[in-house]
Amino acid sequence: MNNLSVLLLFLGMALVTYVPRMLPFVLIDKMRFSPRAERFLRLIPYTAMAALIFPGVLSVDAARPWIGLLGGAAAAVLGLRKRSAIVCVLAAIAVVFLLQLI
């Protein structure tokens, strides 16, 4: 990948990550949100995660979508039991690894 365009990508990502972190630290009391706006902002991680998972998880093994689905299911079961992220990730990798051997 072109080095300069990758650097520009990182610069853009760093800016849009830092600014939302920094604004409240500078404005302090001048920033207030209506309950609706706050709810909207707090819901974004949930909807973003949902959209990041589907339909992408089906293409882990593009020819066999059920492999990604089962790997995700393993993470979901462990997640429901409040296991840590790393346990879920390792379990999902193990499931996909084994299924790909079939």
């Binding site: 990948m1 080095n3 365009s5 990758v6 650097l7 990508l9 990182f10 610069l11 853009g12 990502m13 849009v16 990550t17 830092y18 939302p20 972190r21 920094m22 604004l23 409240p24 630290f25 500078v26 949100f33 706050e38 709810r39 909207f40 902002l41 707090r42 819901l43 974004i44 991680p45 949930y46 909807t47 973003a48 995660m49 949902a50 959209a51 990041l52 998972i53 339909p55 992408g56 998880v57 882990v60 990604g68 790997g71 995700g72 993470a75 979901a76 997640g79 296991r83 840590s84 992220a85 790393i86 346990v87 879920c88 990730v89 390792l90 999902a92 990798i93 499931v95 996909v96 690894f97």
Partner: protein, 233 residues
């Protein structure tokens, strides 16, 4: 630096230790994804140093592998990180009055984890130095994990790296799941978003579909989903 400030910094580092253990493996997972997407070792590490946002970086690696447009990647990062506005607001309201340069430095360290540690009962101090100590610990472990993963990538057998594609999704699923059982409306919204994005992906590039369905569904959800009040101010 006075004795007191150094003491607070070290307290913060100690408070951040449990998080460090979790961050190194996730940093490794991100780095492996980034290398698979075609980034060099240096580029993979540079993203962790400059951007410093786990979920966004994993998403960016996935989108790069998908040949997503750079503009779409930046916009999606922005959308995913909008939530930091709420977290930063809570952190700064808990923090003792602090000079602007120190505030600008501390703002870089606002993550889901440092926010949770500083604003909940676990964190005893309201000092900016305590927060900076937490930040230093987490930042160091994130970049250490990135470096390890970026270097180890070449040593892993291909069948194993092929299975690592699931790690991004497993990571997101593990963040999402624990909150759903107690909140039926939230679970409904998550299902709705998954469906919406699957449909939109048929009519537009997946990177744009992600942005549209995230914003649209969060907007729709703000009418009917209730979230626990918990630590937000």
């Amino acid at each position: 630096m006075t004795e007191k400030k150094r003491e607070l910094l070290l307290d913060g580092v100690r408070a951040g230790l449990p998080i460090m253990l979790g961050y190194v493996p996730i940093g490794i997972a991100y780095a492996v994804m980034a290398r698979q997407a075609g980034l060099t070792v240096g580029q993979t590490c540079l993203m962790s140093i400059t951007v410093y946002a786990g979920a966004s970086q994993m998403m960016a690696a996935g989108m790069l592998a998908d040949h997503g447009a750079f503009l779409a990647i930046v916009l999606a990062t922005f959308v995913l990180n909008l939530r930091h506005i709420i977290m930063s607001t809570c952190v700064i309201h808990r923090m003792e009055p602090t000079s602007l340069p120190l505030r600008l430095l501390a703002a870089f360290g606002v993550t889901d984890e440092s926010f949770a540690l500083f604003t909940t009962g676990t964190g005893k101090s309201r000092s900016v130095f305590f927060f900076l100590g937490i930040h230093a610990a987490i930042y160091l472990s994130w970049n250490l994990g990135t470096l390890l993963g970026a270097l180890a990538m070449d040593l892993l057998p291909p069948i194993l790296t092929a299975s690592l594609g699931i790690s991004l999704y497993a990571m997101f699923i593990s963040i999402l799941m624990p909150d759903l059982p107690g909140n039926g409306k939230l679970a409904l919204l998550v299902l709705l978003t998954a469906l919406c994005n699957t449909l939109l992906c048929r009519v537009m590039a997946s990177s744009w579909a992600l942005i549209v369905s995230t914003l649209l569904c969060a907007f729709v959800g703000s009418f009917f989903v209730e979230l626990k009040e918990e630590s937000y101010e």
